[in-house]
């Protein structure tokens, strides 16, 4: 059990999402930066899809009710009883200790995983909070001061007792996730169904630098820039969508649907972001500039493979180090 003793609004319990129910209108939800959540879970010895806490407002503080492994990744700086934890790090917390997480410049969301995972009741196969549907996670709502979160049972590994960290994905895979010198994030996408109906404006979509508007949240990001419009107005029939779809409402400024995306849409779609780049948007704050780069299915596969290898490397290395530590400790 852990107790939330301080939290900003909109911090929620998330796993990798409630997939398989779009056909009855249920939003997937899940971590905005699934890569960071997976790493945090691997560090504490969980399956990569266990439920953790997604933090988007700070500071966040919890008190531990028992000894447990805790890892903090993504955009979160952590201290345990006032002592700083290195970034992307797992450590053992003792009963009564307090974990505080503060923001990291340049990142939008921090992730906290606990050994055994946050063990709230799964709803439709997932522990993710669906704020819109008001179910899942903690009573279907954001965390509040005083919340008591149940944790699953899990042994505390030698790894957590000693403390162990990994290189953050942006550093480990710099060449795969390019950022222009002025800080513009390059996001790879494929042209979507109505791309060509935008005529010359389609090229302006790819060429210009867009800015993430302050009206952006887990549901979607609005982009600010020179409006783009289809050559003639179109009304689509409602159809299923996925996170990463770039829709263009009549005003001409695109919207990117994110984790809490609607399951259906009807705006013309100019592009769809390659899934491997979605976590980078999940870490992009309002005001960040993005530019879209035309990608291919082949490139998307290569990126997925690189991310799988990165996670596999963490899994293998952490298990190897844990075994070595156990041997040294004479068990």
């Amino acid at each position: 059990m852990i107790e939330v003793i301080d939290t900003g609004p909109l911090n929620t319990i998330q796993d990798l999402g409630r997939t398989g129910f779009r056909d009855i209108g249920v939003t997937v939800s899940g971590a905005m930066d699934p890569l960071a959540l997976k790493v945090a879970n691997l560090l504490v010895g969980n399956e990569e899809g266990a439920a953790g806490i997604e933090l988007q407002t700070f500071p966040f503080r919890v008190r531990f009710g028992k000894e447990v492994a805790v890892a903090v990744t993504g955009g979160g700086n952590a201290t345990l009883d006032g002592v700083a934890m290195p970034p992307w790090w797992v450590q053992t917390a003792q009963a009564g200790q307090i974990l505080e997480v503060t923001p990291v410049a340049g990142s939008a969301r921090g992730y906290v995983a606990f050994g055994g995972g946050v063990d709230v009741e799964p709803v439709m196969g997932s522990r993710s909070t669906s704020l819109r549907g008001a179910f899942g996670g903690m009573e279907g709502r954001a965390l509040r001061k005083g919340d008591l979160l149940p944790l699953g049972d899990a042994p505390v590994s030698e790894l957590a007792m000693t403390g162990f960290g990994v290189v953050a994905p942006m550093l480990e895979m710099t060449s795969l996730f390019p950022v222009v010198e002025d800080g513009t994030v390059l996001i790879r996408a494929l042209p979507a169904g109505e791309h060509d109906l935008f005529g010359a404006d389609a090229e302006r979509f790819w060429r210009q630098t867009w800015k993430i508007s302050p009206q952006s949240d887990r549901t979607g990001y609005r982009l600010a820039g020179d409006p783009i419009r289809p050559v003639a107005p179109v009304e689509m029939r409602s159809h299923g969508i996925v996170a990463g779809v770039v829709q263009v409402p009549p005003a001409g400024e695109p919207i990117i649907q994110m984790s809490d995306a609607n399951t259906a849409g009807g705006y013309p779609k100019i592009a769809g972001i390659v899934e491997a780049d979605l976590w980078r948007l999940g870490q992009a704050r309002a005001g960040i500039r993005v530019r879209f780069v035309r990608s291919s299915h082949a490139e998307a596969r290569a990126l997925d493979k690189a991310m799988t290898d990165y996670l596999e490397d963490i899994r293998a290395t952490s298990q190897m180090v844990a075994r070595a530590l156990k041997t040294i400790a004479g068990h």
Binding site: T19, G20, F21, R22, D23, I24, G25, V26, T27, M124, L131, R132, G133, A189, L190, A192, G193, E194, Q215, S216, D217, T219, G220, R222, A232, P233, V234, E235, M236, R237, S238, H239, G240, I241, V242, G244, V245, Q247, P249, P250, I255, Q257, D260, N262, T263, A264, G265, G266, Y267, P268, G272, I273, V274, E275, A276, H297, A298, A300, R301, D304
Partner: protein, 235 residues
């Protein structure tokens, strides 16, 4: 932004885009949208249901999301050969037979008019019909659930009489209540979440459409028949 997005995905834009032949396009790296050619009608939707059943059994597909005369197929991993996927989907559409889903009949008791029917007056103006006439046309209709989507358990109902079609609002109502019986273009439905909504409300139904803890969370399913029973009329 949550609210704005929901409303805007329901707002109305120019003229309907009618494809002349099946149109298959990617959404990102793992999803493909198959849009049926032709009209917005039950015959086309029956073929979409057949396509959904077929594609839903493919080993490399993890999720199928039928929409309004279209289907989104989500693949397990990014396909190695997207052209081959498009060809397979196109072939599956060509082979898709009409499926007549034997759905249940759902009767929904409605209070027509009253405080929730905020758009009934505007519909009178648009259609040139009296409010009683609009209500009669609406409850005498027999509707088919084409697909679910947009919000948990929300069913898009086909079969609305053209005399009471009404375009979605350009400026949505900010806080339409869950339970409002609404008209959006040529469709009707019952709002399942309280919030911004671009559809036009003509009544209210006190029937929960979704329970996440139930074995079957959504009351409606594609192919179901819906009838609205006028429980009260407040004019």
């Amino acid at each position: 932004m949550n609210s704005a997005l929901q409303s805007m995905t329901r707002s109305s834009l120019g003229s309907p885009l009618v494809r002349e032949r099946v149109h298959i396009s990617p959404i990102g790296s793992r999803a493909f949208l198959i849009e049926a050619p032709g009209g917005f009608d039950l015959a086309t939707q029956r073929r979409i249901w057949a396509l959904t059943q077929d594609v839903g059994h493919w080993d490399d597909v993890i999720e199928t999301v039928p929409g309004m005369t279209n289907l989104l197929a989500i693949f397990r991993v990014v396909p190695e050969d997207p052209q081959a996927v498009v060809a397979r989907l196109s072939n599956a559409w060509d082979l898709a037979q009409s499926v007549d889903l034997q759905g249940k009949t759902i009767e929904i008791a409605v209070t027509y008019g009253g405080e929730h029917a905020i758009d009934l007056g505007a519909l009178c103006n648009l259609s040139g019909l009296r409010d009683r006439e609009i209500i009669r046309i609406h409850h005498e209709g027999t509707y088919t659930v084409f697909a679910l989507g947009s919000a948990p358990g929300f069913g898009y109902l086909h079969g609305l009489d053209p005399r009471i079609h009404m375009p979605r609002k350009t400026v949505p109502s900010l806080k339409m209540e869950k339970g409002c019986v609404t008209i959006g273009g040529m469709q009707t439905g019952v709002a399942v979440l309280t919030g911004p909504n671009g559809w036009n409300s003509i009544g209210f139904a006190d029937l929960p459409m979704f329970d996440p803890t139930a074995a079957t969370p959504a009351i409606m399913a594609p192919g179901d028949i819906v009838r609205f029973i006028p429980e009260r009329i407040e004019l």
